[in-house]
């Protein structure tokens, strides 16, 4: 059974004149790892909100078609139930941290799963250690720096150990060291179990080795969908304003000048290796 299915799905916010999503058909299999890209305002967060039930249960509007998560129809499943199937990170961490202490906040998810106390405690400590916020555990979440808030929100999501993770710009507020650490952690879990990942992120050079597939939204519709390295280098997605890493742009310039590459480098190291054994025509 696929993890996520959008079937000719569309959504228009109440009071809006135009749909924010139109004719979305997208299937994500269990274990697939997908980058969702697209310009600001293209509908990325709207698409993610349609997975955890915020749409249509909290945000009202007109829905067309159907969304399924793990075989459950989102429109007839409560957000509380969906929260046990999907780990969801909001774009703004302040929308998901609300307890009086960091530790209580991280424990909130696992408590709602009804796990035994002992296991909750272990998971919370594990998540705090992972996000390197053990020393902030007794602080009030709203008195932290923005990046620290982001780490608390991520710890809360990871402590639930979900099989499906949906993350809206998880790296945007993290410092580079923490961002790399998180990506490595996810890569490691992916190696051990079939983790389904759907991530919105503009800094894609950080994610190139974690994610296999890339879907591009443009004005509420799907503009591109395929293997990440192919989509990122393709001309079709230009109108979507995806932030193309410098190395990918460089390769395109070199190809225009007659150099031929046999795969699509995204990191500096990959490009240098390929420059070493290039064909020139």
């Amino acid at each position: 059974m696929p993890a996520i299915v959008f079937d000719r799905y569309g959504f228009t916010y109440a009071g809006a004149t135009k749909p924010s999503l139109e004719e979305i058909s997208l299937t994500i299999e269990e274990g697939e790892t997908v980058l969702l890209a697209g310009s600001s305002g293209s509908g990325k967060s709207t698409l993610l909100r349609s997975l955890n039930g915020l749409i249509p249960h909290m945000y009202h509007g007109k829905t067309l078609g159907r969304v399924n998560v793990n075989g459950f129809d989102v429109s007839t499943t409560s957000p509380t139930e969906l929260a046990t199937k999907i780990g969801f990170l909001f774009q703004n961490p302040e929308n998901q941290i609300f307890m009086f202490s960091v530790r209580r906040d991280v424990a909130f998810g696992p408590e709602n799963l009804g796990l035994p106390q002992e296991q909750i405690r272990n998971r919370v400590e594990e998540a705090l250690t992972l996000m390197n916020i053990t020393d902030l555990a007794d602080r009030a979440p709203h008195e932290l720096s923005e990046g620290q808030k982001q780490r608390v929100a991520l710890a809360g999501v990871l402590a639930m150990k979900p099989k499906i993770l949906v993350l809206d710009e998880p790296l945007s507020l993290l410092d580079p060291k923490t961002a790399v650490m998180l990506v490595e952690f996810l890569t490691e879990i992916k190696r051990r179990m079939p983790l389904t990942l759907l991530i919105v992120e503009h800094r894609l050079e950080l994610l190139a080795n974690l994610l296999d597939r890339m879907v591009v939204l443009h004005q509420g519709r799907i503009l591109g969908d395929g293997p990440l390295r192919d989509v990122i280098a393709s001309d079709e997605i230009r109108p979507a304003g995806v932030r193309i890493p410098a190395i990918v742009r460089l390769r395109a310039m070199l190809e225009k000048n007659g150099l031929r590459f046999d795969s699509s480098p995204i990191s500096t190291g990959e490009l240098v290796v390929q420059l070493g054994d290039l064909d020139v025509d």
Partner: protein, 270 residues
Amino acid sequence: MIEFSDVDFDYPQGQPALRDINLSIKTGELVAILGGNGAGKSTLVRHINGLLKPTRGTVTVFGNNTRKASVAEISRRVGIVFQSPDHQLFAETVEKEIDFALRNFGTSLQFRHERIRDVLDFFDLQKYRSSSPLKLSSGEKKRLSIASIMAWKPDILILDEPTVGQDAFQQDKLKELVGLWTDEGKTVVIVSHDLEFLWGLVPRLIILSDGSLVADGKTEEILMKEELIQGESLHKPQLLDLAVMLRGTPPYHSFQNASDAAKWILKSRE
């Protein structure tokens, strides 16, 4: 001119957030402040517009001690775009949001109309003119918060994580905005983790760590200091990394953009 001397800052809850900061930024300079989460970047820039006052030491802006000058006096010249737009946006409509400061500063009706139109056009927000800011996407909210500061043309522009939520087109707009300010001899301070954005744009970096200033200098020199990169949660942007791999350690004029790199590579293969 912005001057920090011996500045300490503790949050009321007793969190020491800045320690012994000495720093000077000249009028017309473009600088970026970097450092790990919680290093004190947002706390530091909030001292420049007098929103926070140092616990010890002094901050002077255009010769005024921020502890003595009134907030109104400083805020007329220093515009700060917060890291989180939700802390900044409160008007009923996008248009009113931008008009708020303009009206406060007592500018004429015609001037206000022109400025509102110009900044909405600049950031592609014209279509939301009469919408509620709450109905915008996150990136759109961020652009609105930048537009509403840009509208009244402050002498010092402070951008806290401006690239969050911004696509390639909007990022180019941000670079254009920075150019507009520096061309007029105004000062721009950017706080950011986004080195790919800063590279080729910002000539000077200031690095904070745990509330202290640990490095301050030319972008390329700072990013070549390995111990600093390891310890302070920095990384080399792709083009600098590439220059080092292909050409060894600078000094040389390293690749500022992808076409610099392309030219060098093509030439070296001739």
